[in-house]
Symmetry: C2
Subunit: 199 residues, 2 copies
């Protein structure tokens, strides 16, 4: 992406990201036009192109911006946690809470993002890997302290744990009426994973 | 879908499904035309419309056909298994093996299907729910026999387990070079889930 750090931090950049998130969530990525985003953000069409190359760039920027937000929230939570078991528990709960609190972002990440072949096949997703690495670091810490099994492979298991949380998040996004609460789902996942990892 | 059971069972129907799977996996769903599928299947364009309403119907039919295939394979495997722990182990391994053996189908299910907003939002996916219910039945059987924790909710945990397996399958589809073998991944998931569920 050609935009610089100064632009990313700016109020207008964030305003456009928020508008694009709302528009993509409501109309779908394919049916949305850059001009719809401009209208929602109350800026001129040309302004969007000062910050973003095209519609795909907007979508990828929503992804990167929300990964930054998720990672920052999780890292703050991690600093308050006591040990790897507590960290894993908090990670699972916080991810589910973030999905619940940001339904439009969740809709874009869970549904619209996967409609971009460009994103799925070509984008390196460094920020996503960084997010997954929070899980593998918790697992490695737990192995080091003797809490978690030595024979689990953190590189495989981090994706499995993320996949389980992500599937619950997808169900939430797709279902208008939520069958289960964050508390219930977090409790079920934590019980299963923490006992499953225990040395 | 308007087509009848006789057509679904026919050789030509299966030939078109296979051609569509190949074309969608290679060109992507959005870039594919019904005429590309006809060419691959070596039938006239009009023949496709005797069996399928449109391109979306083709995509949904690939999904339904592969769910039938997955469910039949899993149920055959289940009949050979001894008890719920062995059944869960076999389910996890077989799903991963089916993904490995059918890379085009996996590509369509994992990537292309999610590009259809129609599918993600409107389609009831009864066959997918039936597939997930194989997992919840294993969990309930395990609870009944005292092998699995009474306080796990099979309706939540079935999706979490599916999500974990599905995420590993997605990684496989996206990565040209496979980092881990089916054996390794199945082993890791089984260890974690079976110990995690154990009463």
């Amino acid at each position: 992406m050609a935009i610089n750090a100064e632009k990313i931090g700016s109020e207008k950049y964030q305003k456009i990201i928020q508008a694009a998130t709302k528009v993509f969530a409501e109309k779908g990525f394919y049916n949305s036009k850059v001009s719809d985003v401009a209208k929602e953000a109350q800026v001129a069409d040309g302004t969007i192109y000062l910050y973003f190359k095209n519609k795909d760039d907007l979508l990828i920027s929503i992804f990167e911006d929300s990964m930054d937000h998720f990672t920052a929230s999780v890292q703050e939570e991690m600093s308050e946690a006591h040990g790897p078991v507590d960290r894993l528990r908090r990670f699972i709960r916080l991810h589910l809470e973030l999905v619940r609190e940001h339904p439009d972002t969740a809709q874009v990440l869970q549904i619209e993002l996967r409609q971009s072949s460009k994103f799925m096949k070509e984008y390196a997703a460094t920020k996503f890997r960084d997010y997954l690495d929070i899980i593998s670091k918790i697992l490695e810490e737990g192995q080091g302290l003797g809490h978690f099994k030595k024979d689990i492979n953190p590189q495989i298991v981090k994706r499995a744990i993320f996949g389980a949380i992500d599937e619950m998040a997808l169900e939430w996004v797709l279902m208008k009426k939520k069958k289960y609460s964050v508390d219930e789902v977090a409790q079920q996942l934590c019980t299963m994973f923490i006992d499953g990892l225990a040395a």
